[in-house]
Symmetry: C2
Subunit: 333 residues, 2 copies
DNA sequence: TAGATTTGCACAAACGATTGCGCAATTTAG
DNA sequence: CTAAATTGCGCAATCGTTTGTGCAAATCTA
């Protein structure tokens, strides 16, 4: 059913019908009687305007592209959830692209979404490569989680430095000195800032020469392999700092297999929080990113961009969740 | 940049340009020389056709609506991942709707997606209410996970009955007789079929009067509360069968809080598998749904529908993953 | 009552692509 | 050399909306 058919049914012009249905009856002086009738019949025949035609005419799709490295990662799944909810409440829908952490797919996704004339883009970029963002002329873009220091695309992210600093300090104050940090994808902002936080804390406490940063990937395997390797060293660490949830899982798996008891023999803190962390044994001490807030703020910023406003990047504070995976150890004399 | 501008640049008609760019040069006898030039210049100015205009003209959007109860549930997140991947490889994009297990939102989502003229719908329905699906005339729809017995909308789902039967039988053969089943949302097909599987196994082994089905919701809280309650009974069960991953988490939480050791004092099996199950202590015995296959098959079926073919519902077999959360107990004399 | 306002609606041109049909120019046939 | 066939491309309609502008009819003013 098109507006034309509806107009025929009503024996009036599409113009009038359109104006009533878009709520412009007063502006164009359509009589209340006519308006009533239009609404009534439109309702009865449950007419719904063709959004494609509408989009074409209005040069606006009310659609936002959401580009994410891996929707099966709970962190991004949660993000997607709040983003979808926020956008829907503001009358927009989301076109989802999963890039599988592949820069080429990311680039392709951006092109596809541009072709579909999305009103804006919400991107959790793969990370290292930012070339394809530069050409994003005129299309509002908000970066999530990861961002690019050499470009001024607005972003919202966790205060990764702060969180890592806090976690590391906590370990040190519990008496740990030999703390290894297992990192994720290098040269991405969250990872590098977390590493910096770790380093700063170590330096502050005069543990500069004890710093140990290993790993190169946000995966369980990375956590697993590197933990095994660390345990085999003569100077095996007394505490592990895993820079995301999947790495932490890898650590736990390795520790378990090697018969290391947490926290008696080794302590562990994870960056990221997951619902099941409290059910692990021991419940895992973690740094929780404000996921919901990140999603909400990202959408807010995007809307300000859409309204032509200037916006500032947002860096949100994480919270430290103390559980039972860290033990107090005696300082070496 | 529009095709018109491109045509102007090339000093030819939009017709010719369009025909070359859609690969119809031979069909319309465009000379190879002209075609070359068009492609060249289009490439140089990197022209990309406006998909909105295209969609309107072709009456086809190459867009599929994906409606899901909760994208933050790893089960659905994984589903979304494979669906997105499969669809993209076939040239379609996905509009995502999260219904938060709310029938009204589901209905609204369907309406919105129809308005946007999606080519088809992939829906993991909330469950009980199917009214709004009936009117889905002419729009290809494939149901995932849950389906409606009173309608012949094609679906793909796990063999829930089989999985539950297998798990329950396993428990019984390990000597358990007092097995409680904590269910999810009643009157939804997966839940009811799982319950039936449980019941069938109990009956088969002559444990009809020991059947105990509690709970009403796919949430951690439901698992938690009901486990507590079960433990407080004089005839507390020796084994728990949790009908999804979140319920299982609730069980573990309650058991842990009450100091019950798994599997020494009580056994537990979960329907659904999650990566971290093997890291719990003890590693959780579980029934794994073929999530990736479900996503793939759903997309395949949808495409057959799009091609006007007749399709049959698909019921995929789950796999039983034996870990350490079930103990052998002596049969009561 | 004539002229000026106001009221109520419709015509037709966009938006940016695709495509049936037609019409020259060129080639082939006889 | 003329007629027929083929080649190469463009005109204009179309998809379903929205909207600037115009034009009668109704109402008001004096």
């Amino acid at each position: 059913m098109t507006i034309k058919e509806l107009a025929q049914e009503l024996e009036m012009s599409t113009t009038t019908v359109s104006r009533v249905l878009t709520g412009q009856e007063k502006k164009y002086r359509i009589s209340e009687k006519t308006a009533q009738r239009v609404r009534e019949v439109a309702d009865k025949l449950d007419f719904a305007p063709n959004q494609i035609a509408r989009n074409l005419r209005l040069q606006k799709t009310n659609t936002i592209g959401l580009i994410i490295p891996d929707i099966s990662n709970p962190f991004f799944a949660n993000l997607a959830r709040t983003v979808e909810e926020e956008l829907r409440s503001r009358g927009k829908m989301v076109l989802l692209c999963d890039t599988k952490d592949d820069t080429n797919l990311e680039e392709e996704s951006i092109a596809l979404l541009k072709g579909r004339k999305v009103d804006g883009l919400l991107v959790a970029p793969v990370g290292k490569e930012s070339r394809h963002f530069i050409e994003s002329t005129a299309l509002p873009v908000v970066l999530i989680d990861r961002y690019f220091e050499d470009q001024d695309i607005p972003f919202v992210t966790t205060d990764n430095f702060f969180g890592a600093y806090q976690a590391t300090s906590f370990l040190i104050e519990k008496g740990h000195q030999n703390i290894a940090c297992i990192q994720g994808l290098t040269e991405t902002t969250p990872n590098d800032n977390r590493v910096k936080g770790y380093q700063k804390a170590m330096k502050n406490y005069g543990l500069l020469e004890r710093m140990k940063v290993v790993g190169d990937d946000y995966s369980l395997e990375n956590g697993y392999e590197n933990t095994k390797e660390l345990l085999a060293r003569p100077d095996a660490p007394t505490a592990l700092f895993a820079l995301n949830n999947q790495i932490a899982m890898g650590c736990m798996k390795a520790l378990k297999e090697n018969g290391f008891h947490i926290p008696k023999e080794i302590s562990l803190i994870a960056f990221d929080e997951q619902p099941y962390f409290e059910l692990l044994s021991p419940p895992l001490t973690a740094i929780k990113q404000p996921m919901e807030a990140i999603g909400k703020v990202a959408v807010e910023i995007l809307f300000e961009l859409l309204e032509g406003k200037e916006v500032d990047p947002q860096i949100l504070k994480p919270t430290f969740i103390q559980r039972d995976s860290v033990s107090e150890i005696c300082l070496k004399p």
